[in-house]
């Protein structure tokens, strides 16, 4: 059972390994994807896009009170 699992794992690993190794234009695309994801999550999300309600309030009750205040004042 364990051998079967390891064999399957080995096949999947080499499937992806060979795939990535044999890429041509794909290497450039992966670089773009990684840079893009870094800008999105490590820069934009972290520094510019905090969740407004989650960062201001601790509980859902506080959040709902705040939104009701916003919607009714």
């Amino acid at each position: 059972m364990f051998d079967l699992f390891m064999e399957t794992f080995r096949k999947i690993f080499y499937f992806y390994y060979d795939g990535f190794k044999g890429m041509t234009v794909g290497k450039k695309l992966w670089l773009i994807i990684l840079i893009k994801l870094f800008i999105m999550f490590a820069v934009l999300k972290l520094f510019f896009f905090p969740d407004f309600l989650n960062s201001k309030f601790k509980t859902d009750k506080e959040r709902s009170d705040y939104v009701i205040e916003q919607l009714t004042h």
Binding site: L29, L44, F48, P50, F52, L53, E69, L71, T72
Partner: protein, 523 residues
């Protein structure tokens, strides 16, 4: 009532959302359509075993891969914006968006990311039939992802299957199937994906035309055009029909949007369809919107027929919807605003009663919110309670009208184009038709314009609402600093423009290289 809203913040938040959504939508439709075109090409290869079809499939797969890689995750930005810029909206929407977006995330991740690897890395490693299955699953997976996003958008245009909880100010989903199978959502999905198929078909046809103009890869180009031409023709005809149904639904559910994109100021029985005209937001001395459309070309009774399948039906215009029309049972905007204010006051009183511990008053108001009569007569107009000026209910008529007419005109042009293309291919004269090939090449940007115009109709036309009748856009924004939104607007502009330039550069390099014998082993 709207005095406390910071309009600079609202406008920049809207501009930022529009910018990111429009850039995102430059990548998505090609992925949706090209996925199926590749699947058809590979099916022919598996059936015929002709290696040329393998080469064709691999070339377009490379183009698909470039577009997919550059476009992937650009939509996540929109979710960032929901939490930061549109927190009142995100809270008010409640779990309605949560379910479709979570399903979309899981589907996109598992279906697309698993089978896309087989599609690109699996040539010669898995059986041809399993590879073909993976290609089809990638195409279906991408389209299923689009379904969930469009269901969420459809709910904003026509809220259904939910109940408003006044204690939390959130909408709670009470019927998932009503949300999923809302006629607006389903029709929006069908119209959007089929228009994406048209875009991808025009793209394939345009690039193939370039090869023919350069006298390169003739057999490859014509074979690609056959698949894209047939697919594009069927998709463009279906898009026209789904567009017709879509307009009919808008007439019922969002009559102001319908009146705006049809340029109908004063309603009438047997309303004519305006094929062309110059519209404006001008008013006369009695503050009615001017019905005097210049240079108009009309088809009598057609609008009534298209909206209600009855050539003599009454179609309300902008002035009817603002001033009301008792004869036709249309409530005035002033009355809706009054009713909306009653609902807002009730919500305020419920909150105050809860805060003060006035259990009797609280129980009475809670009962009121659960009463169908209050729901149908007052809470249904909750969003109107934020407005003071009835004119704020009218969207930008010229922008909506022209965007709609550009979309429709291009839609019919594509049908005509695909018919002519297939005729020339059938007669075997396409290669000699140099002017037509140039036309095909220069048509390439037009479906992008039509697609963006369609979204302008959908989103600008529904203003002032972010959720139809329940929440106006001005009340949906977070109380954050407008300058922060301006900074991120320009950041996005730079990042997305860089991505677009990268896409065009990498794609054009690959197109110039052309399909190689046996294709690239991997992207």
């Amino acid at each position: 009532m709207l005095d406390h809203f910071d309009y600079t913040l609202v406008n920049w938040s809207r501009a930022q959302f529009a910018l990111t959504a429009m850039y995102h939508w430059l990548f998505v439709p090609l992925t949706l359509g090209l996925g199926f075109i590749i699947a058809f090409m590979e099916t022919i290869y598996v059936k015929t075993k002709n290696p040329e079809w393998k080469k064709i499939t691999k070339f377009w797969m490379t183009i698909f891969g470039i577009n997919f890689a550059i476009g992937v995750a650009t939509g996540i930005i929109l979710e960032f914006e929901f939490g930061t810029n549109w927190s009142n909206y995100s809270w008010f929407v409640g779990d309605i968006f949560g379910a479709p977006l979570a399903i979309e995330g899981i589907m996109a991740f598992f279906l697309e990311s698993t089978f896309i690897a087989v599609m690109f890395f699996g040539w010669n490693k898995v059986s041809p039939k399993y590879h073909l299955l993976s290609t089809w699953l990638v195409a279906f997976g991408a389209n299923l992802s689009a379904l969930w996003i469009l269901v969420a958008n459809g709910w904003m245009q026509f809220p259904a299957g939910m109940h408003f909880n006044p204690d939390t100010a959130r909408n709670e989903m009470i019927n998932f199937w009503e949300v999923l199978f809302s006629p607006v959502a389903i029709n929006k999905f069908l119209h959007t994906i089929t228009s994406s198929y048209v875009l991808a078909s025009v793209f394939v046809v345009g690039i193939s035309a370039w090869y023919l103009l350069k006298k390169r890869e003739t057999s490859f180009a014509i074979k690609s055009m056959v698949v894209a031409g047939v697919f594009g023709l069927l998709a463009s005809i279906f898009t026209a029909f789904s567009g017709d149904t879509s307009a009919r639904l808008v007439a019922q559910k969002q009559p102001m949007k319908f009146a705006a994109f049809e340029g109908l100021y004063n309603g009438s029985s047997g309303a004519p369809l305006m094929a062309f005209g110059i519209v404006s937001n001008e008013k006369d001395s009695s503050q009615n919107y001017l019905p005097d459309v210049k240079l108009k070309i009309e088809v009598p009774n057609l609008l009534s027929y298209m909206a209600y399948l009855d050539p003599n039906a009454f179609v309300p215009g902008i002035n009817d919807l603002i001033n009301g029309n008792l004869q036709q049972g249309i409530m005035s905007a002033t009355e809706k605003i009054e009713r909306g204010k009653v609902a807002r006051v009730a919500l305020r009183e419920l909150k105050d009663a809860k805060k003060k511990g006035d259990t009797v008053q609280y129980a009475s108001l809670k009962k009121k919110f659960n009463d169908p009569i209050f729901q149908n007569n007052y809470f249904k107009y909750f969003g109107y309670g934020f407005l003071n000026d009835t004119n704020s209910l009218v969207p930008n008529v010229p922008l909506t009208f022209y965007s709609f007419h550009i979309m429709v005109a291009f839609g019919f042009y594509f049908i005509f184009l695909f018919i002519v293309l297939l005729r020339y291919i059938y007669k075997g004269t396409l290669v000699q038709k140099r002017k037509f090939l140039r036309l095909l090449l220069f048509t390439l940007p037009l479906p992008y314009i039509a697609s963006q115009a369609g979204w302008i109709v959908a989103e600008v036309g529904r203003q002032p609402w972010v959720i139809q009748d329940y929440l106006p856009t001005v009340a949906a924004v977070s109380q954050i600093n407008a300058s922060a939104v301006q900074i991120t607007f320009w950041l996005f502009f730079v990042v997305f423009t860089a991505l677009l330039i990268a896409e065009i550069k990498i794609m054009t390099t690959q197109i110039k290289l052309g399909p190689k014998e046996g294709g690239n082993e991997h992207v």
